[in-house]
């Protein structure tokens, strides 16, 4: 059988069956052996128990999204597995591994005619009580992919060493037995050898990358209120910030967490908080305060299904409106959307840089599909920017904290600086920060806060622009990688398609966008929302080609590369 360049594996089972551990270990073993890949999780709402799926894609080249279909479906059990209808679709020629004692796989996942390989999990664990079913399944999956036994053994050791040699040995035996049980189809989805991966290999999730980006950008204070799917950012920062001289505090709610970071940043320390939609909603008033008082802060929103509590564990791109417009009054601020798991690092570092440079709040608009996806990659390159806040040091009386003129960014006195005493205020104020309700001062300060953000030169990072031709796909956030894969397929068919994905959503960049769209006759907008929020946003701020169509759908069903590809290749009308 021909070796493959990309293989997708779905492992399903009820909670407690070790599904996510199995997926993670498969990814780690592949990463150790030099392949690239990623793993996304899909879980039900239960805290423990309930259904879980580990969606793993392994490839010879770096990949940024799940594939359309699954080549190998492994059922540790099939309890509640039918809930993944639509999320797991089998590819032609796929194989399902199933324990005969667990009954047949649900037809919504494995329609009649699907090739099923039996793996007697219950029987094996009964005969060998120290073996765990998920380790047997791991061994079986690894054997089909042609994964090196040694890489698997190393990962097992890494995971279970602390539990003692007995557990390590039992797990090694269990994986070997699992592999042997599927010997008939060994190598059915053998991956081509990895491209020589040079440098260090990393396993990192989007949420961890976000935390690392913040630290690289100079953040040294975080305030936290837990929420799915953002908590891992905070839980990564909690032990790591102190290592670089910073600190994290758990707040009593999001009203507190955002006000804490405003206070810390006012004190001169770059600060961050992370949340999801419900928390971002609570933070609106204080985000306006940060704009008015000109305090740099970074707020990460890892989007999940909404409105209200919505679907906490699954992705959607529906906080765009609240991130962009969700403030009373005129409150210019920055909204930056990471485009891949590793781009969470760059985007958060950039957002921190911009917040500090522009003395304004920045929102990083990530989502569950980025935050909770783990990728196996080569170490991301360093980027050098660390924001340097313009501070007042030599102060001539009277100090004007909100002085007009220049770029609009005025020197900020950090408490402790002699002669710089001022009162930061959310009330409309004069250049000295003294409250006023005068029309002239109000207009002048609105102009100042708008101009400093509008006039800044954001450079090439404002958007990802790839390819040329008269057809373009415009998308954002986690769908960027999906669109890129679809475009590559279209190009292979000889259809030239551009990719336009703004990383900087606010402030809008009309001149740059017009240049990016120059020559585009047909545009396909792609987004994960029910009301086409992104398309409405684009229409409000940019001039789009007459022939523009929109591919949009709410979460949690991810948009797949093939859907975009089909739209691109449908001929004349998109």
């Amino acid at each position: 059988m021909a070796e493959k360049t990309s293989v997708s594996v779905a492992i399903v089972g009820s909670g407690g069956a070790g599904v996510l551990t199995t997926g993670a270990m498969l990814l780690e073993a592949a990463c150790k052996a030099g392949w690239n890949g990623l793993m996304t999780r899909s879980v039900g709402p239960q805290i423990r128990g309930g259904e879980a799926a580990a969606l793993v894609r392994l490839a010879t080249q770096p990949v940024e999204c799940l594939a359309d279909n699954v080549d190998l479906l492994v059922g540790i059990d099939w309890v509640s597995a039918q809930r993944f209808e639509g999320e797991i679709a089998l590819a032609p020629g796929s194989i399902v591994i199933s324990d005969p004692s667990a009954g047949p796989p649900p037809p919504v996942l494995a329609p009649a005619g699907t090739r099923i390989i039996e793996l007697p999990l219950a029987q094996l664990t009964k005969a060998n009580p120290t073996w765990r079913a998920n380790m047997i399944a791991l061994g079986a999956a690894a054997r089909l992919l042609g994964l090196d036994d040694e890489a698997l053994r190393q990962i097992i050791k890494l995971h279970f060493e602390a539990k003692g040699a007995g557990v390590v040995n039992a797990s090694v035996e269990a994986t070997r037995a699992g592999g042997d049980s599927v010997a008939a189809v060994a190598g059915a989805f053998r991956l081509a050898p990895p491209q020589s991966a040079n440098g260090k290999r990393w396993l990192i999730t989007g949420n961890e990358a976000t935390g690392l980006g913040a630290v690289r950008g100079g953040v040294r204070f975080a305030a936290a209120y837990p929420i799915t799917p953002a908590s891992e950012i905070l839980e990564w920062l909690a032990p790591n910030l102190p290592k670089v001289g910073g600190t994290l505090v758990q707040a009593e709610d999001e009203l507190a967490s955002i006000n804490m970071i405003i206070g810390a940043s006012y004190g001169g320390v770059p600060s961050i908080t992370a949340t999801s939609g419900p928390g971002l909603s609570l933070m609106i008033e204080a985000r306006g305060l940060a704009t008015a008082a000109e305090i740099p802060i970074v707020v990460v929103d890892v989007m999940r299904g909404g409105p209200s509590t919505g679907i906490p564990t699954k992705s959607e791109q529906t906080d765009l409106n609240i991130a962009v417009y969700g403030l009373h009054g005129e409150a210019p601020h920055l909204v930056i959307a990471p485009q891949s798991v590793t781009d969470c690092l760059l985007s958060t570092q950039w957002a921190t840089f911009l917040a500090e440079m522009l003395q304004a709040p920045a929102i990083v608009l990530s989502d569950q599909a980025l935050g909770q996806t783990q990728v196996a990659v080569s170490r991301p390159a360093d980027i050098s920017f660390i924001g340097k806040r313009l501070c007042a040091t030599e102060i001539a009386a009277p100090y004007k904290r909100y002085a007009l003129g220049g770029s609009g960014v005025s020197p900020m006195a950090i408490p402790g600086t002699r002669g710089g005493q001022y009162t930061a205020d959310g009330l409309t104020h004069t250049e000295r920060g003294i409250p006023t309700s005068g029309a002239r001062e109000h207009g002048a300060q609105l102009d100042k806060r708008c101009d400093k953000i509008e006039r800044y030169d954001y450079g090439a990072l404002w958007a990802t622009l790839e390819g040329d031709g008269e057809i373009a796909v415009m998308t954002w956030g986690s769908l960027t990688g999906v669109a890129r894969e679809a475009i590559a397929r279209a190009r292979a068919d000889g259809i030239a398609v551009r990719l336009i994905a703004p990383r900087l959503l606010l402030p809008t960049r009309p001149v740059e966008m017009a240049a990016a769209l120059h020559g585009v006759k047909r545009l396909l907008v792609v987004e994960q929302s029910h009301s086409a929020q992104f398309h409405r946003f684009l229409r409000a701020h940019y001039t789009l080609p007459q022939e523009t169509s929109v591919l949009y759908r709410p979460g949690p069903l991810p948009i797949r590369p093939s859907e975009i590809y089909r739209q691109l290749t449908r001929g004349e009308s998109l």
């Binding site: 290999r201 290592k243 670089v244 206070g263 004190g267 002699r418």
Partner: protein
């Protein structure tokens, strides 16, 4: 040191030129006087002091000092101040609030500030009314007090912020009356010096919406007993007193909040090791 000792710095050094918006006769003028006097006694340079507030007549106080200030949003002064103090332990951070700002919209933060015990000084100018929004009942307003929003009274029982502070873990609890500025200044000095979260409830009349509070000057009196370090005893006293006992009521000895920081910070690159495989 007491506020009546000779001062190296003058209270006037801690006043700004900004003219208060307060009504003539408002109790908050006296609180400002007490605050600047306390600062002078403490002898800290104005740039080493930060005064943080929310929204309300009382919350206007930061800009009337010559210190660093933050006039934030309604009810959120305590978390903002905690964030500042945690990253800048070198500053003296004083939080100013009102009974609406601190006990109603900011009530949750009050509980957690007491629990967390960050080294802050919390001054609540309690006039049993929302002054700034023109006279609606607050959590300390009497149930039969008639207002436009609650004709005939709210019918809702007021709460006792001092008892709540004790139950939640505040490390220093006192009651003051704005009309006794020297005594109030002394209490502020002691509160700033006391480690952890120090809370002073300052009875500060609203002459405009609560003219009846002019009678407070005849009702207030010194607490008849010494402060205790037993929170339960202090709470029992407070639940049975007449609400006009002044002075320090509780001095705790709980260690203030300490953020988790490593003694020897490492290079950022070290953090990346966790991702290597």
């Amino acid at each position: 040191m007491s506020a009546t000792a000779p001062l190296a710095c003058k209270p006037g050094d801690y006043k700004s030129e900004t003219k208060p918006i307060w009504c003539p006769g408002c109790g908050d003028y006296h609180v400002l006087m007490s605050l600047t006097r306390a600062m002078a006694t403490l002898g800290l340079p104005p740039e080493q002091i930060a005064v943080i507030s929310g929204i309300g007549c009382s919350s206007r106080i930061p800009a009337y000092t010559s210190c660093y200030g933050f006039h934030g949003v309604h009810g959120r002064s305590l978390p903002l101040a905690a964030g500042l103090k945690i990253v800048r332990p070198d500053l003296a951070v004083i939080v100013a609030s009102g009974d609406g700002d601190g006990y109603s919209i900011g009530g949750n933060h009050f509980l957690h500030a007491c629990r967390r015990n960050v080294d802050l000084t919390y001054l609540v100018m309690d006039n049993h009314i929302y002054g700034m929004t023109k006279g609606q009942p607050s959590p300390t307003t009497e149930p039969d007090f008639d207002t436009a929003l609650t004709p005939g009274g709210s019918g809702v029982r007021p709460f006792n912020p001092l008892v709540i502070a004790l139950a939640s873990g505040a490390n220093f609890v006192a009651r003051a009356y704005s009309g006794n500025p020297l005594e109030t200044a002394n209490l502020i000095v002691e509160a700033v010096r006391h480690p952890g979260f120090s809370f002073i409830e300052i009875l500060s009349p609203c002459v405009t919406y609560r003219p009846d509070q002019r009678a407070w000057k005849d009702l207030v009196h010194s607490a008849p007993v010494e402060a205790t370090d037993d929170a339960a005893r202090a709470a029992r006293r407070l639940m049975t007193d007449d609400g006009f006992n002044l002075g320090v009521l509780f001095r705790g000895n709980r260690a203030p909040y300490r953020p988790a920081t490593d003694a020897a910070p490492c290079d950022q690159i070290e953090l990346e090791k966790g991702f290597e495989i």
